[in-house]
């Protein structure tokens, strides 16, 4: 292929004893969107980091525009025309959007001083070009939502005017509308002749956008085919290495009978402008979904229940008949709540600590014999959970940070499964999680429901509501705009409620 | 009056060297406005010194000369002390008494003060400028007298452990120069030098270290903080050897108790009183040596009397020589320990 913009050959990367990537080759032409698929820990991000000069390969070569490159720093990759949006965002919270986007490439005046005005205008133009003019170029990134930050990150990558754009799970934190917006941007870039590597665990997106698909498993390339010969089943089989039983076939857990007394009652919960009077009940055995567009208060709702707001919360939270509104997580935990966060890096796990210590942090008191921890019991608990959730790790003593994103997410779930609670608050638990692990988490949620726990699920992935929830509350403007239950739960009905006031329903 | 009587002044303020010039200022009618610019504070010596300063200016024969007396503390910050002295210049003091944070750093501001007609007297940590009167105890002589005591007591071919003070400090260098001028005539004595930082704990630590590596120590030349050196010797049951030290209560108590041949001569915290006296005398028209030394008094173990020379009821860190009789400075111990 003489027209390959990017060609990688036999890339290999080892971390200590672990081989994260072995002998992977790929090539990418101008105007092509190459989707990279693989289970968690398959090596996708490792490949991305190699191509973006963040890490050095142990073997193999990279050529860009036909020219062999030894990328020893991100800067060299930028200079070679490769811009990357990493799985973990790399923005500066205290700088403005413009300062972030143009970092290192600001407009400068005669004395080498930065011309803030010109930089601002250039950023505004860039944002408009990629179709997100609603983000203010002079806003501090720290004040933006996760979705907005993701778009800023893309603008930042685009500001290099790269030949190759790499997007590592850009949609994992985005709601449906933002995903559509992003895919539109990607299509536009493809039309301009950019070569794009796109990583996602959501099959619909792959089917929507990819021109070709490369599949990784355990660090090896196990398949590559053009869009037209791609099928979900084939991809899953290659990714996971075994024929999958029919996914999604299991029906959602049945709604508990109306006569069951609620385990949790929320009445008129308010939080300055973010929650404007939310009321609902949760019954034992019920999986209650919180849906709606990004940032309509669903996440605040979970945070509020778990005591993450120290002040300003009003209204009632009643658990098993007792008023248990929490202003610190400890109170919420005491009231029987568990919380599985989406932001695993900042809220989920201790990255430097062993997996085992992460899992048992919530049950230290249970593991205590007199003054000391019972290490045998601890080991038993941990290995059972590692097996139950199929966590891929070299040992329970490995630091959490050495796992792939999806496996980290499983460890965080394991931590709360170890600590049995009555009510589980899942906050986008499958963000960045591969299809296999996703099934595991779904199964876990169903099991919890079957065991009579109350479950509240917030998700950015609308596919999850019909297969998990018996009832879904749709949020809009910090209020419940409506509820759907049973067979009525589907994308259309949820979106209809999300948009009801404006009357427009997005595709 | 005794404070400004030339004969008694001559007895107290001895020219540092034969060619030290005499200094006089324009006579002013009293009572005087005097400021005291102190640098470091927060160790025992300085605490006693500050208490002595406050007590001395209240003694009736002194108080009559003084209309106001104010203490400024800058800590060991030269810049701070310069700015305090500048602010004293602004306030129209007649005299400034200084214990300097740096031997050279205050020179230009002191020159400015003198140019404004202010009498400046530095003591303890004195200053380089010739415009100020320096009052001190002769540290070189002190080091020499300690060494002379030791060379008489220590048998030949032994090692003398010199537990010096703070590296780089002028006083430390002077004391050691004085000592070495004696030791150089006794080449048979080996010298080992360590820095004890004028601090009991550090003295004890470095002495213990030295005792561990040198087994033929026949005498310890110690200064301020030698209590620690003595304790180290007692602690490791090393032979009790002749020692020197400054007038630390603890050192004197241990020396008398263990009958260790020792001599103490100490930098007296009452120097501040002598300096105040110098300021008053100069303002009232007397002339004094530009660089004056106060006569030293040495005490050996057999001369030390409890409750007179040392105070068994007071802390070991108490500096005992709170009076300088040669200069007419008598401070009751109750004024120093409150």
């Amino acid at each position: 292929m003489p027209d390959a913009v990017l060609r990688a050959e036999n890339l290999t990367k080892r971390y200590g004893g672990i081989t994260a990537l072995e002998d992977v080759s790929l090539s990418l032409a101008a105007g092509e969107v190459l989707a990279l698929l693989g289970a968690n820990g398959a090596g996708k991000s490792t490949l991305v980091k190699l191509l973006s000069g963040n890490i050095l390969p142990d073997g193999g070569s990279i050529a860009i525009g036909g020219e062999g490159r030894h990328l020893t720093s991100p800067r060299m990759a930028f200079e070679a025309g490769v811009a990357t949006v990493h799985q973990e965002l790399s923005l500066f919270g205290s700088l403005t959007v413009a300062q972030n986007v143009l970092i290192g490439r600001e407009e400068r005046g005669r004395f080498g001083h930065i011309r803030e005005d010109a930089s601002l205008r250039r950023t505004e133009a860039l944002l408009a070009e990629i179709g997100v003019p609603d983000i203010a170029a002079d806003a501090r990134v720290g004040t933006l939502s996760l979705a907005q930050r993701q778009l800023v990150e893309i603008a930042k990558a685009m500001s290099f005017d790269p030949r190759v754009l790499i997007l590592d799970e850009p949609t994992s934190a985005l709601g449906l509308t933002d995903v559509h917006r992003l895919l539109t941007v990607v299509r536009g870039l493809r039309a301009k002749g950019r070569a794009i590597i796109f990583i996602s665990h959501r099959m619909e997106e792959i089917e929507d956008i990819a021109d070709s698909v490369t599949i990784l498993r355990s660090g090896r390339k196990v398949g590559a085919f053009p869009r037209h010969s791609f099928t979900r089943e084939r991809a899953l089989e290659l990714m996971l290495g075994e024929t999958q039983q029919q996914l999604h076939a299991v029906p959602p857990p049945p709604a508990p009978p109306d006569s069951t007394p609620p385990i949790l009652q929320v009445a008129d919960l308010r939080l300055d402008g973010r929650l404007n009077g939310v009321s609902f009940d949760l019954r034992p055995g019920e999986v209650l979904g919180l849906a709606g567009l990004e940032g309509q208060g669903q996440k605040d709702m979970l945070f509020a229940l778990f005591g993450l707001f120290r002040r300003g919360l009003r209204g009632d939270v009643i658990i098993r008949g007792q008023a248990r509104r929490a202003s610190r997580p400890l109170q919420a935990i005491a009231a029987g709540l568990a919380f599985i966060p989406d932001d695993r890096k900042n809220m989920g796990g201790f990255m430097f600590l062993p997996i085992a210590h992460n899992v048992t942090i919530t049950i230290l008191n249970r593991l205590r014999r007199f003054l000391f921890l019972d290490s045998r019991q601890e080991k038993a608990v941990v290995s059972a959970l590692i097996r139950q959730l199929a966590i891929k790790c070299s040992s329970a003593d490995a630091p959490l940070g050495s796992l792939s994103g999806g496996n980290q997410q499983k460890v965080i779930a394991a931590k709360w499964l170890a600590f049995e609670r009555d009510i589980y608050l899942f906050c986008d638990p499958t963000r960045g999680v591969d299809a296999g692990a996703r099934e595991t988490i779904y199964a876990t949620i169903r099991d919890l429901a079957a065991a009579g726990k109350g479950i509240i699920l917030y998700s950015t992935d609308m596919v999850e509501f019909p297969i998990l929830c018996s009832r879904v509350l749709v949020f809009r403007g910090g209020k419940i705009a409506g509820a759907v239950s049973g067979a009525e739960i589907n994308e259309e009905s949820i979106l209809a409620l999300s948009f009801r006031d404006t009357g427009t329903v997005a595709a | 009056q005794s404070l400004t009587d030339p004969a008694s002044l001559a007895q107290c303020f001895v020219k540092a060297t034969a060619d030290t010039p005499m200094m006089a200022a324009k006579h002013k009618a009293g009572p005087y406005k005097i400021a005291f610019s102190n640098s470091l504070y927060g160790n025992n010596w300085r605490t006693e010194m500050l208490n002595i300063a406050s007590a001395y200016v209240k003694q009736p024969d002194v108080a009559q000369h003084i209309s106001s007396f104010k203490i400024f503390n800058s800590g060991n910050d030269v810049s701070q002390q310069i700015s305090q002295i500048r602010s004293m210049i602004l306030s129209g003091y007649d005299a400034i008494v200084v214990d300097a944070a740096s031997p050279t750093g205050l020179d230009s501001v002191i020159n400015q003060a003198v140019k404004q007609g202010i009498v400046v007297v530095a003591f303890d940590n004195t200053v380089g400028t010739l415009k100020a009167i320096n009052v001190n105890e002769d540290q070189t002589e002190m080091g020499r007298q300690w060494a002379q005591f030791l060379v008489k007591q220590v048998p030949a071919n032994k090692t003398i452990l010199m537990v010096r003070g703070l590296a780089g400090a002028t006083v430390d260098n002077d004391q050691v120069d004085g000592a070495k001028s004696v030791f150089k005539d006794h080449p048979d004595l080996k010298l080992v030098e360590v820095y004890g930082g004028w601090d009991v704990g550090t003295n004890q630590k470095v002495t213990a270290d030295a005792l561990a590596t040198h087994h033929d120590i026949g005498g310890v030349w110690g200064t301020e903080g030698a209590t620690g050196a003595l304790q180290a010797i007692l602690q490791v049951h090393a032979p009790l050897v002749p020692m020197t030290g400054e007038s630390d209560n603890g050192f004197m108590m241990l020396a008398t108790e263990n009958k260790i041949p020792a001599t103490v001569i100490g930098q007296s915290p009452a120097l501040v009183a002598v300096a105040i006296r110098a300021a008053i005398a100069t303002l009232s028209g007397q002339s004094l040596p530009q660089s004056a030394n106060v006569p030293l008094t040495a005490l050996t173990t057999d001369e030390m009397k409890p409750d007179v020379d040392y105070f068994p009821k007071l802390p070991g860190s108490f500096v005992t020589n709170i009076s300088i009789p040669q200069c007419g400075v008598h401070i009751p111990v109750t004024d120093v320990v409150k």
Binding site: L56, L330, K345, N346, M351, L364, S375 | V200, Q204, L314
Partner: protein, 324 residues
């Protein structure tokens, strides 16, 4: 400073597992420094000399208990020097007035707890950076001590128990070292095998996650800073016993050497990694380094250069590296 370190390359380093590196290297460093000492003077081979160093190391080591805990939760305690001095002076004075051992030790513990609580108030409740807060507290304690000693000069009466703990011997082994060993076993045990230890590491790794996981942050902070305060206060009493007196400035040498001991001991300054085992070796290393330089009999200037350079070389070669 959290977990995206995998973005960054270029940290090949020695091919040892992190645990081995952190556990064994401090002792290796100690061995190297000890060998240097022996080269400087053969006397370092005698038990007599070693014993003296051991007593000194015990003082640093005891203080380093609190410092290790503080560093493990991602903070630092620089209020130790004047906690030592204030305790030394106040507790011995009190003992002189009321000659019961428990009065002195009770006062020391009281001061330690109070200082710890104030530090916890600033660092945990008000969330002030610990470096600057504890340093300010140190300054205030200094002022407090000066105000107090101006009104009441320190005494020479030192509780015999303090003297015994500082200078006494159990056979050939100094009592201070025995005390140190006992405390060390307790701390290491607490860090490794108790929920408290887990909580300490958890907070040092990521405080927010610790909070969300239901750790009682306030209690752990209080325990850590109170331990640090009490250990400093205890060492204040021991030092009074060692010198048979308490005096102003007696704690001045305890500002950064304990931190150096912890860092040479392999704990990460940002928290979450390390332990007290290494700090033991670190404390001895710091003391031996000083002793060696004193033995070498070089000028103060050269000594400072060599001390700084060696410490830097140790930090550079093995440990104390930031994750950045």
């Amino acid at each position: 400073m959290s977990a995206t370190t995998d973005l960054q390359p270029g940290r090949s380093g020695p091919r040892l597992s992190a645990a081995v590196r952190r556990g064994a290297l401090p002792w290796l460093i100690l061995a190297v420094v000890y060998a240097l000492c022996v080269i400087a003077s053969a006397d370092f081979l005698t038990w007599h000399t070693i014993r003296l160093q051991l007593i000194q190391a015990a003082f640093i080591g005891l203080v380093a208990i609190g410092e290790t805990l503080a560093i493990l939760i991602g903070h630092i305690d620089l209020s130790i020097p004047w906690t030592i001095t204030l305790t030394g002076i106040f507790a011995t004075n009190l003992y002189a007035a009321h000659p019961h051992e428990w009065v002195a030790f009770g006062a020391a513990i009281g001061i330690g707890v109070a200082v710890g609580l104030v530090n916890m108030l600033g660092v945990y409740v008000l969330r002030v950076n610990s470096l600057i807060w504890t340093l300010s507290i140190n300054l205030m304690l200094q002022g407090l001590t000066l105000i107090y000693t101006n009104a009441a000069a320190p005494t020479t009466v030192v509780p015999p128990a303090a003297k015994f703990l500082a200078l006494g011997m159990v056979g050939e082994i100094p009592m201070a070292a025995v005390l140190w060993a006992v405390c060390a076993v307790i701390v290491i045990g607490a860090l490794r095998f108790t929920p408290f230890g887990r909580a300490v590491y958890a907070i040092g790794s990521n405080e927010l996650v610790a909070l969300v996981s239901g750790i009682r942050l306030g209690r752990v902070y209080a325990a850590v800073f109170i331990t640090s305060g009490v250990m400093a206060a205890l060492v204040g009493l021991l030092l009074s016993g060692y010198s048979s007196q308490a005096y102003l400035g007696m704690g001045d040498d305890y500002l950064l050497p304990p931190v150096a001991a912890v860092v040479i001991g392999g704990s990460r300054l940002a928290g979450g990694e390390g332990g007290y085992g290494g700090s033991i070796a670190g404390a001895m290393t710091v003391i031996l380094l000083e002793a060696m330089l004193i033995t070498l009999n070089v000028s103060q200037g050269e000594r400072e250069i060599v001390f700084g350079a060696i410490l830097l070389a140790l930090a550079f070669l093995f440990l104390g590296r930031s994750r950045r």
